[in-house]
């Protein structure tokens, strides 16, 4: 296997593996957040703020994987 093909495989592999964790994390966060809003609709906006914040943290991990994939492919 030459370097070019390994590069292509590595790019796809990084994205494939690296987005599983964040996807699960965001799903669990959103589920718990929605459940909390369902239990206590009055606190909806506080829960929403905290939920959006935590989802942004989880998504950043997927973006790290994306940046590594971009570096492998283009640099």
């Amino acid at each position: 296997m030459d370097a070019e093909s390994i590069r292509l495989l590595a790019t796809a592999g990084v994205m494939g593996l690296g987005t599983v964790g964040p996807a699960l994390a965001i799903g669990i966060l959103a589920a718990k957040g929605l459940e909390a809003i369902g239990r206590n609709p009055e606190a909806a906006s506080k829960i929403q703020t905290a939920m959006i914040l935590s989802i942004a943290f989880a998504e950043a991990i997927a973006i790290y994987a994306l940046v590594v994939a971009l570096i492998i492919k283009f640099v």
Partner: protein
């Protein structure tokens, strides 16, 4: 179809290279400055259309800040920084979706091949732009912490000799500050650059109708990234100005 991570230089000003992302950042600053000066000279009790929109945006941001800081007074104190970060990022993200950005340019010869260089490119798709805002935000959080509770108390959050565990936690906090800078900049860069690549690829594959949902996604992502950046800065400021534990 050519995708380039680093921004391309368009021309020089006395040896200082001006890239296409820098041009877009200047455009965003020009738009914000123009709107600000025009409204400032014509403020009135009965608001005009534009003043109404700006007052609405200001109220919303202040309400968000009040939810995190607790008091309206503290929110108004830190409002300029948070609102600047929010408005700058959202304006530069949204003008990057306009038609002509990324598609109008010139062909230049570089390293033997001919490459297409667009005149304009989303400002946040340049790591320099996002890193600059990220470093300023983290440094400002520290400055606000020192201004609010004093140098000794702020430093004692990071360097404390009370017990080995406290010392270790302080060391971790140091490292976490660097991680914050990287995380802020890479989050915004990754989102906007990936959005640009997505738009280029869909326009390349099916130019009619299919890019529309992706443009809407880009609009949404631009807004969310600006919101997340300013909300995280808000949260870090609120942690920095609080007394220890």
């Amino acid at each position: 179809m050519h995708i380039e991570i680093s921004a391309e230089k368009i021309f020089d000003i006395f040896g200082f290279p001006v890239t296409n992302t820098l041009l877009m950042a200047w455009l965003a600053v020009a738009i914000l400055g123009f709107v600000a000066f025009r409204i400032y000279s014509k403020l009135s009790i009965i608001p005009s259309f534009v003043q109404n929109i700006l007052e609405f945006v200001m109220e919303k941001i202040l309400d968000l800040m009040e939810g995190i800081f607790g008091s309206r007074e503290i929110s108004e104190k830190y409002f300029p920084v948070i609102a600047t970060i929010f408005l700058f990022i959202i304006v530069s993200n949204w003008i990057g979706i306009l038609p002509g950005i990324g598609s109008i340019g010139f062909i230049e010869k570089s390293s033997g091949k001919e490459v297409f260089v667009p005149f304009f490119r989303s400002a946040a798709s340049d790591l320099n732009f996002t890193l600059a805002i990220a470093i300023s935000a983290v440094v400002l959080v520290h400055i606000f912490g020192i201004l609010a509770i004093g140098v000794r108390k702020h430093i004692s959050k990071f360097i404390s000799f009370k017990s080995p565990i406290d010392f270790f936690v302080g060391l971790l906090e140091f490292i976490s500050e660097i991680a914050k800078m990287i995380s802020f900049s890479v989050r915004l860069f990754g989102n906007v650059f990936a959005g640009e690549v997505l738009l280029v690829v869909t326009a390349f594959l099916v130019p009619y109708l299919i890019p529309v949902p992706f443009l809407m996604l880009e609009l949404f992502v631009g807004f969310i990234q600006a919101l997340v950046f300013s909300m995280l800065t808000m949260v870090f400021i609120s942690i920095a100005i609080a007394e220890h534990r």
